[in-house]
Subunit: 429 residues, 2 copies
């Protein structure tokens, strides 16, 4: 590939297709040959350990330049992932005032608005004219992460308004920003969760959201492209949690088997311990099974269907909680909805259960037992599936932890008790 092609390539492609094909020395040479801003953008698409290795092994003045060109949110992510000794070394490379800003951002949790914010936004004053503001954008625009919103700050750094570059461009150049700006700025506190940030960006169709501290002073902005990355990451974690896996940071094909084993065996064991209760229940009803072996035939079907019904309810509620459609305050209404739904679904499945039992040639009384048990188990599983995530949310546990495997496991033991107790009543065991 010629030098010309490389010059035109996107930083993402340089990081994901060009660099991986090079040896380490070659990577260093290549990065040193790029303009520092482009080298910084390329680095931002690598893993933190790779970023550090490259910065550390570049000629020091070069490494400094590249680090200072990185956007502040990327620099914060890198610094936070380093060993404290490496971190202080890199921090020394950064100009004192910028260093202070980075230290402030580093204090916010990684998943918060503050942790995602970049300080490379455009700040303007209320008394500037539109023409002056455009001059300012021309001057500082190259450093900024996003030039399309001009944030109006007062002398103490409080966010008092926002003007879009579009409005400023469209206006008469002599108009003061105070007349153009919107005073009702949509902003988030630094502690806001990243999902909340994404929701607000999407709701109000914004390209960036300003982040303020408790006193209303501007800390930085979160841009929509960072939120896209965050949403993809969150979706991955949710799907993995729903499958009963602790979130795995690396791509599946790159994660070591040891990591994948550890992320899976913990939950598998925890669920096993819970599921082991079913053995105790079964043994408790040993005499029932000895007397009517046919009862055992329906155990997998009954509890499997219960698990499926619970998983349906939990997936609906987990997602509704995630997008804010349902809150723990809705608990009574959720109970009322799932009671009716669970009963309707239970009756359908119960009818199927009776049919299945008769088809297997079992006695009518056993078929009746299976049918009644199926109604009760589906009802119970639907309620448990809906309520456990709500409970989790209430007590501050990620609702996605109440994954399908957990719901299935949690409903199995009681499902069996329901089954055998109905058998006792119907069959007179």
């Amino acid at each position: 590939m010629g030098a010309l092609d490389l010059e035109k390539m996107e930083p993402y492609d340089l990081a994901t297709t060009v660099l991986p094909g090079m040896g380490r020395e070659e990577q260093l040479e290549f990065l040193a040959s790029l303009p520092p801003g482009r080298a910084a953008e390329t680095l931002e698409h690598l893993r933190p350990d790779q970023q550090y290795w490259l910065l550390h092994h570049l000629p020091e003045d070069r490494g400094r330049e590249v680090l200072n060109e990185m956007s502040s949110d990327a620099a914060v992510d890198l610094l936070l992932s380093l060993h404290p000794r490496q971190r202080s070394q890199l921090l020394e490379w950064i100009a004192p005032q910028y260093q202070e800003e980075l230290r402030r951002l580093m204090a916010y949790p990684e998943n918060s608005a503050g942790g995602l914010a970049t300080v490379d936004y455009i700040a303007v004053r209320e008394y500037w004219t539109a023409g002056e503001a455009i001059e300012h954008v021309r001057k500082v625009g190259r450093e900024a992460e996003l030039v399309y919103y001009l944030y109006v700050l007062d002398a103490q750094g409080h966010l008092v308004g926002v003007a879009s570059l579009r409005e400023v461009l469209l206006a008469d150049p002599r108009t003061p920003l105070g007349e153009l700006m919107k005073r009702e700025v949509i902003s988030v506190p630094a502690q806001a969760d990243q999902e909340e940030v994404g929701r607000i960006l999407s709701r109000y169709d914004l390209l960036a959201l300003p982040v303020v501290d408790d006193a209303g002073r501007m800390i930085g902005i979160v841009t929509v492209d960072d939120i896209l990355d965050v949403m993809e990451q969150e979706a991955t974690e949710d799907v993995q949690r729903l499958g009963g896996v602790q979130p795995v940071a690396e791509p599946y094909m790159e994660a070591s088997l040891g990591v994948l084993f550890r992320k899976r065996v913990g939950w598998l064991m925890a669920l096993y311990v819970a599921e082991a209760l079913t053995g105790t229940v079964m043994r408790h009803y040993e005499s029932f099974i000895s007397q009517v072996v046919a009862l055992a035939f329906f155990v997998p079907l009954l509890i499997g269907t219960g698990g499926n019904a619970g998983s349906q309810a939990s997936s609906l509620i987990i997602r509704a909680l995630a997008v804010g459609e349902v809150t723990p305050a809705h608990v009574l209404r959720v109970i009322w909805r799932e009671s009716r739904l669970g009963l309707a679904l239970g009756l359908s499945m119960g009818a199927a259960g009776v049919l299945r039992a008769l088809l297997l040639g079992t006695a009518g009384s056993i078929a009746l037992t299976v049918g009644l048990a199926q109604v009760a188990i589906v009802l119970w599983a639907s309620l448990a599936g809906a309520l456990l995530p709500l409970l989790g949310k209430k007590i501050g546990v990620d609702p996605a932890v109440f994954s399908t495997p957990l719901i299935a496991t949690a409903t199995d033991a009681l499902g069996l008790i329901i089954y055998f107790e109905i058998a006792r009543l119907v069959l007179g065991l």
Copy 2:
């Protein structure tokens, strides 16, 4: 709430908090009182049936104005959701040239780049200077969905370059766009799937992505805020599919019980039919259970753990497929990884199984049976959980359909056969 407050409110808030509190007549009066652009933005946050009702009942000239102010992607969504008669009525309100553009966009599938595209972008010519381009933005900027990218088209409408407003502002006003623009434009074909569009936007940190037809002519742009909405919608559908629910379009608390019932009962029944196979398997081994009732104690534990292991593997692979980390071409490597992982997990769970059996006071030979069966079942479930979504992808079925409930159900029957066959060998039944 005073008129002043309403004037400052965001369209989203008008649509979600102000309008729902009004009667229909009041809604019409309120919309008629808004500037048409603001009324259009507010409408875009309502459901299509509500949009149509309001447009239809506004004074006709007012309705026309508002409809023509809607962004083209929102107008397309609305038109597509209407009855053909209503659709032609609304189309008549639209200026002929714009009408033609809308008809072209309506031909693309809803989930494709073409279906999401808006035609309200800024088109410029290569020979214009930076200064002329800024003048153009000033003139047409108010109509555009996004003014921050200037798309350079040739006389036939082919997309030949893109310049960011930032670059154009920073440049000398006399520079021709041909010198400022990037000729390697990242674009997508109109048929591209919306997930692909999201991936490209996020990868290259873009605010909008141009959509071109097969001949490279520009059709429109997809903006990042539309993709945020799409990603949220897709995440909801994935979570619901993973839980074994057909995607529900309405929010959980608003969906009717009838809809929720239908979205759930279909899968539940389908899984039931599959799960019913377990009854046949159990009956086939009836004599084993009669001879050694203790064998039945471990059935829920063994197949439950198998289901959990399968669900872990499937959630990892489903997500890796969704983000493009794994493709069906990786099938052999996935088999090799999951064989080793499944074996390691199986051995761990098998050891736990032996322990559990001994704790329940069962004979050593039964404990051995349970342990061996657990190893084999976990191995088999891990492989099935990983391979079924890959197979789905290969044959064009959404991998998320291979949900946890489906994997659990699919692995139960063979899991039981494995268990009883091991029992035959070990116990000599």
